[in-house]
Symmetry: C2
Subunit: 437 residues, 2 copies
């Protein structure tokens, strides 16, 4: 039995295949009979993670309402954010505090706004608003983040997939594609990428900063969502994109985004925009039409709670202690069922919020359906591709942070069973697979 | 002297005019010599007003993080806002809770987003995005709110001024103008309007709801910013616009906006969108591309602090006690210097944040310059008109809430002196005014 389990599915045929299929179907039926309700869909922190910031629930406290320069956090004003808020987060963003703007609770909102402002107004260097271009397009490294792609779809911006390599996007492909002047932007999650977990290599960052673009107003939408979200002892750090752009003579190429949604409180964190002086001035001029200023009391909460960069690092170690075991549990459960079967490979990220899994091509949708029927919610197959269309129908995004460790273990076993069952079903349908071996 | 003071400036000539001018110049010089630094520019609550909500600074408190239905306010989700948040504010918005969406800290942001979404996507009933129209336009009742007008300017939307009458916009003018299909929207601050303080009469509301518009996707941008901001015993209440639109067969005509910026905390309040079911669904579909959800901890703070509609009303009475005396002080200081001179008339609003003053035509800019030179900051003349262009150069917006009562008294005396001096200067420059009487 142990031997049979590790036989590659692609080599199974005839009676051995039928036996294995029956066996795994039985495993699936047993799993389904447990009548579980498990959810591995979204990159949400667990209740234990948000509870790490419970001290913020009584902050800033009565009487503590002034910035260092004496501004009243309870009143209007300070569009860019308190100097001390910007000083606290600037090192993580890799820019001087003067080039940081603090937003509301959602970096997605900041990115969205930059897209709509680019569409309606253009960015520094634009000769006209992007919406006046023939057919503006973005490059989308895949697998990628569905909410990035949804913004493009919302505004009729073409999404051009480019493959990720494990060290960032395929730069040969990127350099060829950006020669087209209608390519205006590119989504990048450069560190612990969503969902592949990869960090762009220094050479990739250098080439992104230096490549010739057909559009003079091309922008990297640099969503450094997981800048401090390490899972392992050897953290990965992406190279400083702003420095690289400046060194390459393209100082205005990058818009940098980040948030504390997965540092302090998801939905009640701070978001950030960071960029060159010209881009920052552009951002503030646009944002000043939208709002009188950000929520500065929430800035005080963050300053009082996190204190300094060391405080942020220490807080992230507490997150890691809660979620690294969940990533390990997924890996262990998948290995136990799938090692040697050749039906899937998956990432072991050093940070971030996801495991990216490639199942047997043509089975990802089936895996999600099987899982759903067994009470296990997975991110829809295809979600990691623009338009929800994965041409291989193979990529699955696993989000292990929110469920309890026990549920992650159970869910991962179920996922492994569904992956294996879908692969066996597919193998059984292949010509010749029913022949005796 | 007392007699002379109350002589209409327009009737002064010759030596009497010269004497009066010299006298007021001396008053002005004395005022300037006091070397004050006073600011009457923005509609900001005073420190004492935001301090009324200081109990919120320690809310929601440890362990109090769940909505009535058990949602964790510390985590992602609930794009529309907690049911109890919507139930608390729905009566003030005049809509069912199902038709309310809770935003972030800025209703200006909600309005801005509705404009950009209309421009890029269109609204329910649009045959194409507004940005694809020849030359989309908004009606702008004047005097009005500069930040409303700035959004139009930002996106190249034409702003067409229409006069306010004291009971809302001139409906003859409005009905004629909206016949043009390029008129897509209209800014309205329907209660305690910024800055005139007027409340739209029931008949005006009915006509706005019922008028024939050339654009089938015309929208009233109904900024009910001062819905509960009474200053007098007899509060004014604008008629329910959504009911009026529904009754008139135009159920989707109004987008309603409001916030608690001047109820709880300016910059850390809640904003609201409210509208018909179709508009609310449209809003949520758009907002869902921009954010995963609003700051629900701030919703809990508001729910715990304000509790119910009676709590909101009681809180607003405390605001009134702080700011009504400031409005009275402005009125008294202006009367003391200007009664009988015929150089200005101004409002005595029953609510809101502003006094609107019409100085002698052609002198508003001069008044602001004189005031500035005497250490007194006023909202720029023309700010209450689209493009900052007041064709009469007469309207001034006075914002008495932020300075202390003592400063409001001093500033108002200074304003009266500047208004009178500018009027006398202008009179002195008129043909024949130097002739003996």
């Amino acid at each position: 039995m142990a031997t049979e389990n590790s036989t590659p599915v692609a080599e199974l045929r005839g009676a051995a295949l039928a036996a294995r299929l029956a066996e795994v179907r039985a495993d699936y039926d047993r799993f389904r009979a447990r009548d579980l309700k498990l959810d591995m869909t979204r990159g949400k922190p667990a209740p234990e993670q948000v509870a790490l910031a419970d001290a913020m629930l009584t902050l800033p406290g009565n009487g503590d309402v002034f910035s260092e320069s004496g501004e009243d956090a309870r009143n209007y004003g300070n569009l860019q954010g308190f100097a001390e808020t910007r000083a606290l987060f600037a090192p993580l963003l890799g820019v001087p505090p003067e080039q940081v703007a603090v937003g509301e609770n959602s970096s997605l909102g900041v990115m969205h706004d930059c897209v709509v402002w680019a569409m309606l107004k253009g960015v520094p260097g634009s000769s006209r608003p992007w919406s006046k271009e023939e057919a503006p397009a973005f490059l989308c490294p895949v697998p990628g983040y569905d909410r990035h792609f949804a913004i493009l779809e919302e505004y009729g911006i073409r999404a051009i997939p480019v493959p990720l390599t494990g060290r960032g996007p395929d730069m040969e492909a990127v350099e060829a594609l950006v020669a087209d002047p209608s390519v205006k932007g590119m989504w990048c999650v450069p560190q612990y990428s969503n969902p592949s977990g990869e960090t762009y290599a220094p050479e990739v960052v250098r080439r992104l900063a230096a490549m010739r673009t057909g559009a003079p107003d091309f922008r990297l939408f640099w969503d450094n969502a997981y800048a401090v979200h390490d899972l392992r002892d050897a953290p990965e750090r992406v190279a400083n994109i702003l420095d690289a752009c400046t060194a390459a003579g393209n100082p205005d190429r990058a818009f940098i985004f980040a948030s504390t949604s997965k540092v302090t409180l998801a939905g009640a964190g701070l978001s950030f925009f960071a960029a060159s002086p010209a881009n920052t001035a552009w951002y503030l001029a646009r944002a000043g039409k939208r709002t009188i200023g950000p929520d500065k009391l929430n800035q005080l909460r963050h300053i009082r709670f996190l204190r300094d960069e060391a405080g942020i690092r220490a807080h992230m170690v507490r997150h890691r202690a809660l979620i690294a075991p969940k990533f390990d549990a997924v890996d262990a459960a998948l290995r136990a069922r799938l090692d040697g079967t050749g039906v899937a490979h998956w990432t072991a990220p050093a940070g971030g919020y996801f495991i990216s899994l490639d199942a047997t091509p043509g089975t990802a949708r089936r895996v999600v359906t099987l899982a759903k029927e067994a009470g296990l919610a997975l991110t829809p197959a295809g979600a990691t591709w623009p338009g929800g269309q994965d041409p291989e129908d193979s990529n699955l995004r696993l989000a292990p942070t929110f469920p309890s460790l026990e549920d992650v273990r159970a869910a991962s076993e179920g996922i492994a069973i569904c992956i294996l069952l879908a692969a066996l079903e597919r193998r059984a349908a292949e010509p010749g697979a029913q022949d005796a071996g």
